[in-house]
Symmetry: none
Subunit: 216 residues, 4 copies
DNA sequence: AATGAATGAGCATTCATTCAT
DNA sequence: CATGAATGAATGCTCATTCAT
C-alpha cells in the first residue's frame, strides 16, 4: 500500500530533462531558499552561492528566476499531484478496506505523511497560493474532479453499508480535507515541530468518523 | 449579541494616533495593495499612486515600508485580536446559550463574519505568517491561552449536560478551529467568491456538532 | 591690548539683522552641527531638532540651507576677519613693542587664542575651504593685502633695528603663518586636545625668532 | 636617491587585487570627482558617467560608495604612507648626507614632490581628516613613531656636529613638518597653482635651517 | 511669525538578466 | 557548458524646500 515517493518522481523528472549536476544543485538550492525565505526574498545570487555555481549558471537552463519557481511547482501541479492522486485512488480500489474507518485512517495518514515529507515544496506552494489565488482555484478544481470521480463509487458503498452519512461527496471531501488542512498547515509552516503522525491521525480520525457518521 | 466591529476599532486606532487624511489614504492603499499583490510585490510608488499622494508622503509618517506593514498588522496582533477575543468571551458568559448547538452556531457565524469582513487584513496576515512562522507561534499561544481560559468552564457545563464530548478543551478548540480555518482560508484567499455565510455556517455546524457529540 | 571678542561681534551682527530668539537658536544649532558632522551630513531636520523648532522655521529667515552656511561664514569673510585684522593692526601701531620678539610673541598668542576660541567656526571654514578653494584664494588675497599694508612699515623698523631678516614682507608672513597654521590646524580639528597656549607660544616663537633673525 | 613612485605602488596594488579595466576607470573617476567636488557632493551616477560605465558597475566590485572611498584612502593609510616613510628612512641611512643642510634640502624637496604628485589623493585625505579627526590622530601617531624611530640617531649625529639645535626630535619634526604642511596645504587645495618646487624648497630651507640652528 | 504636512527630485543600492570569453 | 563582469531599470528612502493654516 505504498505510493511512489515524491522525491523519486521529482528525481525522475530531473533526469528526464537531462539536468546537469550543477543544474540539480541550482534547483535544490532554490527549493531550500524559496522555502526558507520566500521567493521574492531570495536573490539569484543567493541561489548561485548556495549551489556553489556562478550567477550565469543559474540562468543557463532555467532561463529566468520564475522558470526556477515553475520547475519546482509544475511537477506538483501538472504531474506529481495528479499522479499521486491517481495512484492513491487506484490503491483505494485495489485494496479492500473492510470498513470506512480503515479507509479514512489510511487516507488521513497517507496525506499527512505526504505533506510532512515534502514540507519545503508545500511551503513554497502555500506561499504562491496566498499570493496568486488562481493557482488555488485551478488546483482545487483539478483535484476535486479527480478525487470525486474516483471516490464517488467508493463512498456509495460505504453509504449503503450505513457507515457514512448520506451527503454529497464533495461536501464530505471538503469537510474532511478542511480538518486535515487546518491541522496540517500550522505544522508545515512552523517546521520546527516534528508532529507525531500516528497520534495526530488517531485524533483527527476519531473526530472525522463521528462527524461523518450517518445521522439517526 | 453584536461584537464591536473591527473597522470601528481600527478607525479608533487611527484617530488616536491622529493620522492626517492623506496618511489614512496611504494606509488604505497599502492595505489594498499588500492584500492584492503581496508585500514584496508592492512598491512604495504603487502605494503613493493609489493613495494619490507623493512618494515622500508615504514615508513621512510611517518611516519605512515595514512600518506601514506593522501599522496594518499590529492592531491585529496586539489590540484588535485580543480585544475581539475578550469581547467574544464576555459575550459567551453574558448571553445564555440554551444549548451547545446555539453556542457553536454563534461562534462559527461570528468568527466567519469577522474573517470575511476583514479579508484584506487576514490575507496580509496569512502571507506574513507563511513567511514568518514566529508570528503564527506567538499568535497561536496568545489566542489559545485567552480562549481556553475563558471557555473551559463553559465547556464543562456542556459536558455535564451531555451535549459535548469529554475531550480536553484544547483538543476541541483545535478541531473546531481546524474545520473553520480549513473552510475559511480558501475563501479568504480567493476573494472573488463572496461565500454564503448562513449556508456555510449550517454545513460546518452540522458536521461539527456530530464530531463533537459525546461518545456512546 | 585686548581685541574685540568675536562672539561679541557675532552677537552684534545678529542683533543688527534683527534675529528672533528662535532664529538665533537655529543659527547656533547649525554652527554646532556643521562643525560636528560637516555641512552635507547635517540635515535641516537635525538643525530643527537641536534648535527645538519646526522644520519650516529653519527656512523662514535664512531661506536656504546654504543661506545658513553663509550666515555663519560671511561674518568671518566679509566682516569679522577684516575687522579683527584691522583692530589687530591698529593695536600694533598703538602699542609700542619694544622689540620684534615682544611683537611676534603678541601676534602668535593673539592669533592662537583667537583660533582656539572659535574652533567651531574655524572648523567649518576649513571644511568649506577644502571643498571650495575659491574661498581660500579670496581670503588669502584679502588678508594678505590688509596685513601687508599695515605691517610693512612696522617690519621696516625692525629690519632697520637689525631684529628681522631682510626678506620681502610677504615671504616673512607666509613663513610665520605657515608655522602657526601648521601648528594650529591639527589642534582645531582634533578638538578633544585642549592645547596649552602659553607653552605652544613659547615653542613657536623660539623657532620663529631664529628663523627670522637677520642673516650674518 | 629616488624613492618608489606612489603611482607605481598604487598600480601594483590595483594589479594585485586584479581590477578589471572598467573597475580601474571607476576608481580613477572616483578619485577625480571626490577630489574635485568632495565625497558627499559626488553621486555614484556622476562616477558612472565619468567612468563611462553603468551605475551597477560602480557597485559590482566596490560594494558601496564608501568602499570606493576606502579603496582610494586605504592604500595611503595602511600601505603606501608607511612604505614610503620606510623607504624614505632607508634612503636616509643609505645615502650619506655631508651636512644637515643637504639632508633637510632632500627631505623638503622629496616630501613636496610627493605631495604635489598626489594632489588628488591628498585633497581627499585632507577632506576626510577634517570630517573625521580620528583619521588624523591615527595617522599622526603612526607616522611620528615611524619617523622618530628612524630619525633619532641621525639627528643625534647632526646635533653632535653642531649643525642642529639640541631639541627633542619630536619637537624638531613637528616644527619642520608644520612649516612644510603650512606651505603645502594651500597649494594642494588650490590645485590651479602649479608651484615652483625648487624655488619653494629654497625658501623653506633657508628659513628652516636658521630656525633649527644650534643656539649660541 | 511659526508650524508641520506635503512634495518630488535625487540618491545609494539591489537584482534579474545578458553576453563575451 | 560554465563563468562572472556588465547592465540598467527599479526600489526604498532622504532631504531641502514650499505652503496652507
Amino acid at each position: 500500500m505504498k505510493h511512489t515517493d515524491v522525491e523519486t518522481l521529482f528525481a525522475d523528472n530531473i533526469k528526464t530533462t537531462d539536468l546537469s549536476e550543477k543544474q540539480q544543485k541550482v534547483l535544490q538550492a532554490s527549493l531550500t531558499l524559496f522555502a526558507q525565505k520566500g521567493y521574492e526574498n531570495t536573490s539569484t545570487l543567493d541561489i548561485a552561492h548556495l549551489a556553489g555555481v556562478s550567477e550565469g549558471t543559474v540562468f543557463k537552463h532555467f532561463k529566468t528566476k520564475d522558470g526556477l519557481l515553475q520547475a519546482i511547482l509544475n511537477p506538483f501541479m501538472h504531474d506529481i499531484f495528479p499522479r499521486v492522486a491517481g495512484e492513491f485512488i487506484d490503491a483505494l480500489h485495489e485494496s479492500i478496506f473492510d470498513s470506512f474507518e480503515s479507509f479514512i485512517r489510511y487516507v488521513v495518514k497517507d496525506r499527512m505523511t505526504y505533506a510532512m515529507d515534502n514540507r519545503q515544496e508545500m511551503k513554497i506552494f502555500i506561499q504562491e497560493m496566498v499570493k496568486n489565488p488562481a493557482i488555488m482555484t485551478t488546483l482545487t478544481n483539478r483535484l476535486s474532479k479527480l478525487i470525486q470521480g474516483g471516490v464517488d463509487t467508493l463512498f456509495h458503498e460505504y453509504k449503503e453499508k450505513g457507515e457514512l452519512v448520506d451527503w454529497d461527496s464533495m461536501r464530505i471531501i471538503r469537510m474532511a480535507s478542511g480538518v486535515i488542512v487546518g491541522y496540517l498547515i500550522p505544522n508545515v509552516i512552523m517546521s520546527e515541530t516534528p508532529l507525531d503522525i500516528d497520534k495526530t491521525t488517531d485524533e483527527v480520525c476519531e473526530f472525522l468518523l463521528d462527524g461523518l457518521k450517518p445521522r439517526d
